[in-house]
């Protein structure tokens, strides 16, 4: 009941397609069963083709998104280039592990394409930074069990961007409908080598 991971609710999922990746989250922010906002995005962009999804305790979601915005800005100034998804993943991991004995209550996801080779990359983390490298899909948040189930049944490898959009949208929408703490709208990003597609989805409002 007083689990900080499920106080505010929220879910996210990322998937790999053919030369593309997708990452999506719901838009709900709540206080236990009370819904507070249907406009709380949990996906943040770093550079052209790299995204970070942050679900869990909302205060930590905001804090960490600012921490990584700051670290990414310094990185760009130092290196004079965009950060690679795998480098961001390692940065997330070491940042979370710094708080090993008083962690941020979040389940982050990283999804993106390598800035040069456009090779897809996705991964997830536990709250102390252990990286879960995934080839196909990765889930996080209060509907993670439902997301796993839907990914296992709907996902197939090497989907084209539009098919990947359909798959990830159905996975997210049907998962959050079976979770009282997630939903209230959704946002989906499809990352391809020459464009980013962002779509806001309408969902059940109960």
């Amino acid at each position: 009941m007083s689990d900080p991971f499920s106080l505010n609710g929220g879910s996210a999922v990322a998937m790999v397609g053919k030369d593309c990746v997708a990452i999506a989250s719901d838009l709900r922010l709540g206080n236990q069963s009370l819904g507070l906002s249907n406009n709380f995005e949990k996906i943040f962009q770093f550079g052209d083709k790299t995204f970070l999804g942050l679900t869990g305790l909302a205060t930590d979601v905001i804090t960490l998104s600012e921490v990584f915005r700051f670290k990414h800005n310094l990185y760009k100034l130092r290196e004079e280039r965009d950060i690679e998804p795998k480098t961001l993943a390692n940065l997330v991991s070491s940042t979370l592990y710094e708080k090993r004995f008083g962690p941020y209550f979040v389940s982050p996801l990283v999804a993106g394409l390598d800035p040069k080779s456009n090779v897809p990359f996705i991964c997830g983390f536990d709250s102390i930074g252990c990286i879960d490298f995934a080839k196909d899909f990765i889930v996080g948040g209060t509907a993670s069990d439902q997301l796993y189930g839907l990914c296992e049944s709907l996902y197939e490898p090497s989907l084209e961007p539009e098919d990947l959009f359909e798959t990830i949208s159905q996975v997210l929408l049907n998962a959050v409908d079976r979770d009282a703490l997630s939903g209230w709208g959704a946002v989906v990003y499809i990352v391809t080598k020459d464009k980013i597609i962002r779509r806001v989805l309408k969902t059940r409002q109960d």
Partner: protein, 250 residues
């Protein structure tokens, strides 16, 4: 007592110079010449290993050190100061980069970290500047290019195509200006570095009195393990046999 000398020893002279740094550069100008040459497929760092007596064992002394698997560093000036900087550079490569991003720092970042250490020694209390100029050569995976930098005691650093520091650096640089061109191959660069060193070394050049390191292709056999996606180190020290082979064809 301790606080009596805790002001910075490097202070401005009325004419606007930092004489401590000028003295450090004078010490470097008397140092053994080091050559650094960049080519399309590798960097060469070459220097003379001077032994003051034939009783001295030279086979296990090294003047060019590995900082990361893809970056090498050498010096002209004071040997002990160089070893301190090598230790600091290796540690900084990990604490300020590898432990955060799980990859080794690019050459430019590594050079900036070393330059920061050297700059701080010109503005801190109770310590003197480092009595070395460094040549840092390495491979940058992000641009897929080889790079060569010089770092001075003041903390200034310069990117070079080819350069020399130490006793005969002026004449060696004139020589390199004539011999360097954009499509130099690694073997040509080694050849040119030997020719440049020949001018500055008094006695005969041999594999035993030269130190040559190349940073070029990954050396899988130097990795020590197999079956991972980890690339081998690009830093490779030439053995005295390998140097002698090249000296024969000079």
């Amino acid at each position: 007592m301790a606080d009596r000398y805790s002001f910075s020893l490097t202070t401005f002279s009325p004419s606007g110079k930092l004489v401590q740094i000028e003295y450090a550069l004078n010490a470097i100008k008397q140092g053994v010449t080091v050559i650094g040459i960049k080519s399309a497929n590798g960097v060469v760092l070459a220097t003379e290993k001077k032994a003051s007596s034939n009783l001295l064992k030279t086979e296990n002394t090294s003047k060019i050190e590995l900082i990361t698997p893809d970056i090498g560093m050498t010096y002209s000036g004071m040997g002990p100061d160089f070893r301190v900087l090598v230790d600091k550079a290796r540690k900084l490569a990990h604490t300020n980069y590898k432990r955060i991003y799980n990859e080794y720092p690019p050459v430019k970042i590594m050079v900036q970290e070393i330059a920061k250490v050297m700059q701080e020694s010109t503005q801190s209390g109770g310590i003197r500047p480092f009595g070395v100029s460094l040549l840092v050569g390495g491979y940058d995976a992000h641009s897929d290019r080889f790079q060569l930098y010089q770092v001075d005691p003041s903390g200034s650093y310069f990117p070079w195509k080819a350069t020399a520091i130490g006793k005969t650096s002026v004449s060696a640089k004139t020589f390199l200006e004539k011999r360097w061109n954009e499509n130099l191959e690694l073997e040509d660069a080694i050849h040119v570095s030997l020719l440049a060193l020949k001018e500055s070394v008094d006695g005969e050049l041999t594999g035993d009195n030269l130190d040559i390191v190349v940073v070029s292709d990954p050396q899988e056999h130097l990795l020590g393990f197999k079956g991972t996606s980890v690339e081998g180190p690009r830093f490779k020290k030439l053995s005295s046999e390998e140097i002698n082979d090249r000296l024969d064809s000079l």
